[in-house]
Subunit: 470 residues, 2 copies
């Protein structure tokens, strides 16, 4: 019997806008003083309990480049990613993960730990201890949900009501909806209510049985061969693990977790979980504060100067700035929705976009020109493409680029050249071309696009993006 782990990284969300975007969900951000992203923190945390081979990340294929990039940064390679064909909430995603683990050699008696990818846990020792208890509980056939010891009457979480108080794990009386403030206060005082953090632990045999009993519409995922699983997944109803299984099964127990957990669900939560310095101010980047206290100021390269900022939140990014008093950040979610309805692309597009071959960032936009910094990973290759309305100048700032440019209207004779650091190449409008990094180090180029139209959608791909790292 050994421990396997599933990380759910499918979530989207803009509650930490402008750092989080439609194209850059929370789990891919580094916040609260860590240089690791929430996903990286989650993986590192789990690798203390199990091994690379026993870990799977379930997420939409659209995040594959980002996940591959972030996990390669912490030394993780290989096929750990399980493609979530569509958003179906947590239950079908977990079934997909378990099926994937079985492909990878997990047996009926092996234990699986399921974790969201966008939470922080300050006390990893306590977390490991709790997981140990959960493993024990699963040995008796129990399905474990971790109950987060509440630290405030939070109305943003569902609660787990424990029955009585075992010394290690507790029976579950019921799962209760997000309460109002007053009810939440009662829960906090009573002492036997816990936040539902969406962390689960079970044996393979028990979760399969539970799915067959309580969520059969999804259980056929376990019987399907890998190539047929996506279809089964798509035919499954969208349901959360709590509704589909936990609230119905009888073999549910709760393992209390008091380990500095947070879902980092708002800028207020980020402030509360960030290391604060003088006057309780938490700052990131090039920030100078004079007077004021208890503020969160997150910047990057630009100088930020704040005077007498009391309990304020300032989040600065290359293309968008957010300012609000603490306590108002809860309203952000709805407001970002309004911003996107008003076609503010900054709610969706991230200043830096990830692609299978690397990343790019727009440095400057004009009516007739656009400037990008493009980073191509070693082995990365962009699609064979051409543009109707723009020519492109590429200047290599670092590394070596392999550039193929076809003659106009003559796809037969491509010119292939190696462009070295400090050199440049011109790609005329309408010419089929391809950019590749044949080297061992990252390739960084500055692209100057010029033409009557420089929108991202002026691209005709003859082949798809491709990357050896991919």
């Amino acid at each position: 019997m050994s421990l396997y782990a599933i990380v759910l990284a499918g979530g989207s969300g803009t509650r930490l806008w402008p750092l989080s975007r439609g194209e850059m969900p929370k789990q891919f951000l580094a916040v609260c003083g860590s240089s690791d992203t929430l996903l990286q923190q989650t993986i590192k945390r789990l690798l203390k309990l199990t091994s690379h081979e026993r870990l799977r990340v379930v997420a939409s294929g659209r995040w594959k480049p980002l996940i591959a990039h972030q996990l390669s940064c912490i030394g993780m390679k290989g096929n750990f990613l399980i493609d979530e064909p569509d958003a179906r909430n947590t239950a079908p995603a977990i079934a997909l993960g378990v099926a994937g683990l079985i492909d990878g050699g997990a047996c009926e008696d092996d234990v699986v730990l399921v974790c969201p990818s966008d939470h922080i846990i300050a006390d990893e020792g306590e977390f490991s201890r709790a997981v140990g208890i959960a493993e024990k509980a699963t040995a008796g056939g129990s399905i474990v949900t971790f109950g987060i010891k509440p630290t405030s009457p939070d109305t943003g979480f569902g609660y787990i009501k424990a029955a009585g108080s075992g010394d290690e794990w507790l029976d579950v009386d019921s799962f209760v909806e997000k309460p109002d403030e007053q009810t939440a206060r009662g829960y906090l005082e009573s002492g036997n209510y816990y936040w539902n953090g969406g962390i689960f632990c079970f044996r393979v045999r028990d979760i399969i049985a539970a799915f067959r009993d309580y969520f059969p519409e999804c259980a056929h995922i376990f019987d399907a061969p890998p190539e047929d699983r996506a279809r089964c997944f798509m035919s499954s109803p969208s349901e959360s693990m709590d509704y589909a299984v936990m609230e119905k099964a009888r073999n549910i127990v709760c393992v209390p977790l008091d380990a500095g957990w947070s879902d980092v669900g708002s800028w207020d939560a980020v402030y509360e979980n960030s290391p604060s310095g003088e006057n309780g101010n938490a700052t990131v980047g090039n920030v100078e504060l004079y007077g004021g206290a208890s503020s969160l100021v997150i910047g990057h390269e630009r100088l930020i100067c704040g005077i007498d900022l009391d309990s304020m939140i300032v989040v600065d990014t290359p293309d968008a700035l957010f300012v609000a008093p603490r306590g108002s950040s809860q309203k952000l979610r709805g407001i970002v929705k309004q911003l996107s309805e008003r076609h503010h692309d900054e709610t969706v597009e991230a200043p830096e976009s990830a692609r299978p071959w690397g990343t790019y960032r727009v440095l400057s936009k004009g009516d007739r020109h656009k400037i990008k910094r493009i980073a191509v990973s070693p082995g990365g290759r962009l699609s064979l493409q051409y543009h109707m309305h723009r020519s492109e100048h590429w200047v290599v700032v670092q590394g070596t680029a392999k550039v193929v440019i076809y003659g106009h209207g003559d796809e037969s004779k491509p010119k292939e050249r190696l462009i070295h650091e400090g050199e440049s190449v011109f790609v005329p409008k309408g010419h089929l071309h391809r950019l590749e990094n044949p080297g061992r180090i990252h390739l960084e180029i500055i692209e100057v696009q010029i033409g009557e139209y420089v929108g991202e959608d002026d691209i005709a791909r003859v082949e798809d993006d491709y990357s050896r790292a991919d």
Copy 2:
């Protein structure tokens, strides 16, 4: 007898940082809802009272490119600029201006109006009326100072105490220092105290006489030939017009001015003088506010989203951001001083720098590369120069560039080429080169610098910058 005008544009200052910088003083900024800069507003205001030929701008030569650029934008050309060799406060600057006007044909009986370049006056009709009264007063040999009708017990201004109350102009009892709050309240109630706005009006003969009587150390400027004036100016003590002349002369009168005047001396003043929209918020740029009231939010291209901002000030620029509650902006002056002592170049350098040939703006900086957008005015020409540590790629985004590049170590055979829109050229490290705009429209190029060092000081100029517009 006709009206001449002197505009004092020598002032520096960073009270409106980060919009104002060491290299971009207040008078060159457009604030309070106008698309004209304070200097442009001042000139336009005066051109309703006098003509181009009768107007002079006194300022340090370092501002010549900026002033020439801003004034050409409002259709003013020619030699209206009088070079202030050094900062000597207002009295020597005014003497220099008057001497310049005499060169330009002003006679002893002509009347001169002296205005700072960084104030706003909302009611131009009222201002013109007051100037008319001042001209009448000067006919009797009086030297006029305009007394701004105070609207608040401001402790930031000196006050003029009027003696009695003439119907058009008033005798001056005394000039009083910046008062404390309580004294200022008394002044406001008494009704015969006025803010000293530094606006003067006098006949040429009378001001020369006054300088000879009360500030002789400076009066020899009037006797010196143009080529010797700079030396006289440098030998004059530094003194304000008030100390040097106004507080001593007996023929001083005060013309009350109640015309929506402001020296725009702080962000609070900018807010008070800006058109405000919903909930009393004043915004500039791409700003979305939800909730909150009475705030000033100044942005540019980047999206700014504010929630529940009450009486806050947010000023965003490409390289620096300022956030503070209204009322705290007074502290900015001292704090910017501290920032510059900590070597934050953003206090001195402006995101966009003006040169005799045009402007440039840094789009992106790295250890080994820097990207600039360079705009060269028609006829503008950069110095013949070379760089030790960097090569340069120029991509023409708009217009046509004339580029001269010399062979390495071979100054004899320069290659001259015309680079058109969409084309590019490479300037190798160490090669002598020159960039020029021979065309009729603005030339815009993207410069990508690459090298082991990309600091502004890696430039060896063989000839100075030069511009036909200059």
